[in-house]
Symmetry: D2
């Protein structure tokens, strides 16, 4: 996060306030189709209840903005400090993560009252308190944080609904528009290697893990022009992909043996036909849509089977920047499109942004010279830089103004409840 | 359950309908203080959400009464057959027990609609269909089943609330009325042994596990005139009871080592004073109230420490029947009293009925000649006759017309979330 | 154990010494076919290495006889006090049970030296120290304890060898002698009920759990004339016994689902034919031999499927005593026969003693008036009186002078690595 | 592994044979202090019994050399193919790893017979069969493989012995020689960044994971002149290092909470003084010796506490090569020195080679262009390139001719049973 001295001007302040309102409103809008009971659900430790997301994002503003910076601010409810702390150990012991679904109190009404109170105080802060740029930066961080939870809210409720035998739909199960055309053929796009600048240029907001900007040496390589499709992944399954240990990383093979996995998460077969559970309920599997909810292990095994590999995160960033199109963001399948699923690639689109988070072969590690900030916000990213893999590009449930080429998402290699997909890379022959 | 042939007369039918209305109404009344979110909670596998209790008790009437016996009955929702089946494997695979808290759909409103529909059809059945006595028996079984779930509803929500750091209260934390007097001194009451009739006489409803009535040989013994109190249990703790392996059954010692237990469930110390979590929230521990929420292992270790033992279930039944007082049920601390906690014994009361389920030393086994019925209802009790201990006497959350001297409750020896307590017995010197 | 005052006479003393030598020698003889490496194996927490059995049985004499009663006795090695304590918490924290297989030191030679030293000191005690009867009783207890470990030594090494893909044989795989005749038909033997004396008469050694002798009321019943055979059990399997939940106790059904059990422990199918692992290696399954290594759950489910039930331990004792034959012990298939497997019943034999421990429906509980002794030996039996089932009659690896009609063995209902079998009982029609 | 065409000459062949004899002999010499019982021990899944190491290293030559390349070779024992396969899934399902300690058969004698037979056949292969260079390469791989198991043999038996309360010593507990002088002060050595060649130059044997040699961009940095000492690590402990979550990676903090860790593996306090378990038994902790048996999480937390960081594996390689001294290998504390413990640094030594494997901050990933070989040997390294961290430099139990600057070892971040230590790095100010 960019934290500089000096007060920001009125226009910036007004813009920030507008953004605050829009993003906070978007979170609530996403919770609209859900009942208080739905918002209570926590189906695994990795996921959180919608209500918790609504409260925690407010807690973030209360903790990092209002308590230290709004004169005379009194906490909405002292208990909330522990209840809605996610993982900031330096602020006290957070409430047990796997038990977030057991907090029926405070109830949803109280959480919405909390949000209104936070919003009203934030408006006060954003209009009346001298807004030095470090505050601006913290507010921007809080809004980006909120956007991350918008995505989690959707992936978490998808997981929770998938447990229920009635397989509820979060939204209308919009069928993919261009079902007839199929996906365009996969083309290999060559990229020239060399020393490339990696990381945020600093012209927009970025998380600390995107810094410092620095050089990486990348060799010549080729990258696929679109994501791997369900049909292509089915070939892998039908060729015995889940039964051939040589295709798998050792930990991945152990996992699929232990859990007896034979297909991606959310796939199921009924009377010989394949279906997948979506935010629109159970839907027939469409062959030309990108395969999604694969773990890193599955992505890696598929690439090995295909005689290719996954790109490094640096290769991804270089390729995505070089192949950028002017209208890229406009056409991308992001949250605003409300598709809630990856869509079939079109000939005019390379899917780098949106659709699915793309697993890279890179471990999630600090960039050279990375230093987390010394205060509690320093726990935001740095402490997770172990055992996880970097994903790039955003997904169909990522807000458009939240994603960028330098964005580094990260998950454990076994996780698959996010909208994750596969882009192949290869060495130039 | 008593199943006889022949149609019942109008008076019986009217009485049954009245009882149906009263008991079904009571369940809903118990859910009144709870929000839809509260009713969604499941804090461990042993417990179920309130909403699930509301639905499952209706499922019982639908499955065993309406589907087979109401002409033209059409299920309220076909999915409910799996969702709200508890453990009747012969009716199909029940929905995964530990995940009952993840069923946000059907929502509470739908579950209440389900109850209303079941009630309306049951009224039809009870007024219009020729009511042969086997149906009468099944309805009565269903109502007793519902009463069991009334008790579970309360113990389960107590457990769920205890996880929440804000420690919500289900009801007003009524202070024990006679706090000043203390408990009366414990008196040893001698009981003559011999061959005694054990089990239900068959004059009222009983569960199959109370039959056949049969003779048991019981020696002379003595029984305590009241339950063990918190103050007495504290002595055990302070004497190092939880650190002395010789006092414990082997499995019990292993458990308290593994879980690092040093006091009963729901007890906690704050600044040197003892508190216990109750349905009225966190309350100071009262020395003269009966100690509750102890496991069988704790009850047994306490008895060993005290140089006594627990009674067998046969001793309990013999003693309770012999010491029966005319107004026993009237004065007992049962659900209708709405105390939601065990109360200090009074001099005129021996606490055999109500207050707390009393652990006996008896394993839960079939009575000689026991045969479960051949249909699905046969899964009601028999298949649990292994690894569990018998408890007797009902608790402060047991309905008054549900309890009787021959009633056999059963739980695993490690369980402590029910209202369980300790009555000592001893051999006659 | 019978503990009386007064010194025993010379003849008793000589007889005791002879018995000591014989039993101690038998243990070592049983270890003869095993290498130091074999004797190191521990294949699960329930089992112990042979070397540990050799040492622990000596520890028993050292701890309860030599240390307190042999003047000037100095422990062989102070470390052994912790290392070879099994479960006597009152003597200090025993070495972690699941890690007994990790004690390569002391090595086997040291353990044999330990045995020789203990034997030499015990000879001294048995010849030179005034032998009051309480010492006699403790020595006898130690010898019966050693005999229990002889049986465990064999069942534990059987389990350990079964893990090894080369399936080693402990002894020659003696084929059952009378393979051609088959088992005699099962006959139902009626037994008259009434008040029966249960427990040890006190004329020979007995464990404390067989006392006090007391009366039990038993109804009329019938008992099978022999054990259930493999062929009969196969019928149960082929009739879908492992797929029908209604036949199983709830905990048993959960277990076989979780562990995906479809046949008894040690059974396996190869190319359509059934085999079982025995102390003589892998052997074809013989239909007329008694089915063995079944858990209580399997025994109970089989009985339910057969329309019968298991006997109570009281019924078993009454029947076994009434049907006793003069030459019963002589013909029985016990350890001395070195068959190491249950044998086909013969027409002149009812198999009450030897062949297999017979699961009863009784929970392992104290007899009325039972009191464990106050010292460390008091931990011998009493603290296990929870969650276990009583088995009666001894097995093919029980020493002949160790078994008797009142003997109560006990294991958890899920356990099956002992030589356990099924005898059916039924109510008289 | 370097695999080239063409037959090797006589001198090379003779040298290879001599090396074969020497390395195979060294393995057996390392097992000398152990009994057959010791060699049977497996104290955790990560470790293997000595006997298994002895057999598996022979299996490697049998499987990859003798079976395919020695005309007329017949397997020593067909069962060994499964029993002693470690993780080559493409050769069939290996025997269950956590149960290797249960293979008492084949016994030690048989395993030594197996070794003699393999050795005799290998001598035949190395003297009589035309030795094309690909065979030379496979033999060399087999010998390096054997050397890896020499190290594991020692760390595994150390772990096994540490469980035994008698704390056996594998070797004489040689006290560190220069105990009085203490460690030299830590000096920060600056290294110039730039594009550096990383990986094996190919002039000697190397594992496939050290290839391809390639360029890495490294910034300017500084590196510590020696390893972190016990005294320095104690400061971290005494400063509350294990209680301050901000110092730890998230997964590391979760681990030390769950396992209640407060010091490195093998450390223990007795009456206020620190000891550590070594291959020479329990020894007082020496402050000036390098701290060892730390997990990556501990190494990382220490570095954070010290205001420094761990080097990347590329920084390590660049620094180690630049600071290389002519007599480096000669003076290094490696297996041949038989110290079996890290030694106090001397002023003339920077400890890059030997003493302890040094955790780097790098994830274990393939070098650009890495391709595992297509046959079974391809499972050697590549499939482990996930979730592990790279360690560099060898340890006090690494053979001298096995280690080199480009060597990449790898373990999971939680593992600490290897001889692992900490070298700090820092950015140049």
């Amino acid at each position: 996060m960019t934290i500089l001295a000096g007060e920001v001007d009125t226009e910036v302040r007004a813009e920030l306030l507008a953004r605050y309102r829009r993003i906070r409103g978007e979170t609530e809008q996403l919770s609209d189709p859900l009942s208080a009971e739905d918002m209570q659900l926590q189906s695994m430790s990795d996921a959180s209840p919608t209500k918790w997301h609504l409260a925690h994002t407010s807690w973030f503003f209360e903790t990092f903005l209002l308590r230290p910076h709004l004169p005379g601010y009194r906490p909405f409810d002292p208990d909330f400090h522990q209840l809605f702390n996610s993982y900031y150990n330096s602020l006290g012991t957070p409430f047990s993560r796997p038990q977030r679904g057991l907090l029926s109190r405070p109830d949803l009404e109280a959480v919405f009252a909390y949000r209104r109170r936070i919003d009203s105080c934030m408006e006060q802060l954003l209009t009346q308190v001298p807004l030095i740029s470090s505050l601006d930066a913290l507010v921007t961080l809080g809004l980006n944080h909120e956007q991350q939870h918008q995505e989690l809210l959707l992936t978490d409720i998808k997981h929770a609904f998938s447990i229920n035998p009635v397989l509820p739909a979060y939204a209308d199960g919009g069928v993919d528009e261009d079902t007839e055309d199929g996906a365009p053929p996969l083309v290999w796009l060559p990229i020239n290697g060399g020393l490339h600048r990696i990381g945020s240029e600093g012209d927009h907001f970025y998380f600390d893990n995107e810094s410092p900007i620095h050089q990486q040496l990348v060799g010549d390589f080729a990258v696929a022009s679109r994501l791997v499709t369900n049909a292509e992944y089915l070939e892998f399954i039908e060729d015995g992909g889940y039964r051939e240990p040589r295709l798998w990383l050792s930990d991945g093979w152990a996992l699929i043996q232990r859990e007896q996995r034979t297909c991606p998460h959310y796939w199921q077969q009924r009377e010989g036909r394949w279906y997948q559970f979506t935010l629109g309920g159970l839907q027939p599997l469409l062959g030309h849509e990108p395969v999604c909810h694969v773990s890193f292990y599955e992505a890696d095994a598929f690439a090995t089977w295909a005689g290719r590999r996954l790109p490094t995160e640096f290769e991804w960033e270089v390729a995505a920047c070089q192949l950028r199109r002017p209208d890229q963001l406009a056409g991308a399948n992001l949250l605003e499109k409300r598709s809630f699923r990856p869509l079939t690639a079109t000939s005019g689109q390379n899917q780098f942004l949106g659709d699915l988070w793309e697993w890279t072969s890179s471990a999630y590690l600090p960039y050279p010279g990375f230093r987390p900030s010394a205060d509690a916000v320093g726990e935001y990213n740095g402490k997770f830089m172990c055992n996880q893999k970097v994903l790039r590009g955003g997904s169909c449930v990522t807000p458009a103004d939240h994603i960028r080429m330098s964005y580094r998402n990260f998950f454990y290699p076994h996780q698959s409840w996010q909208f994750t997909g596969i882009r192949l890379a290869g060495d130039v022959q």
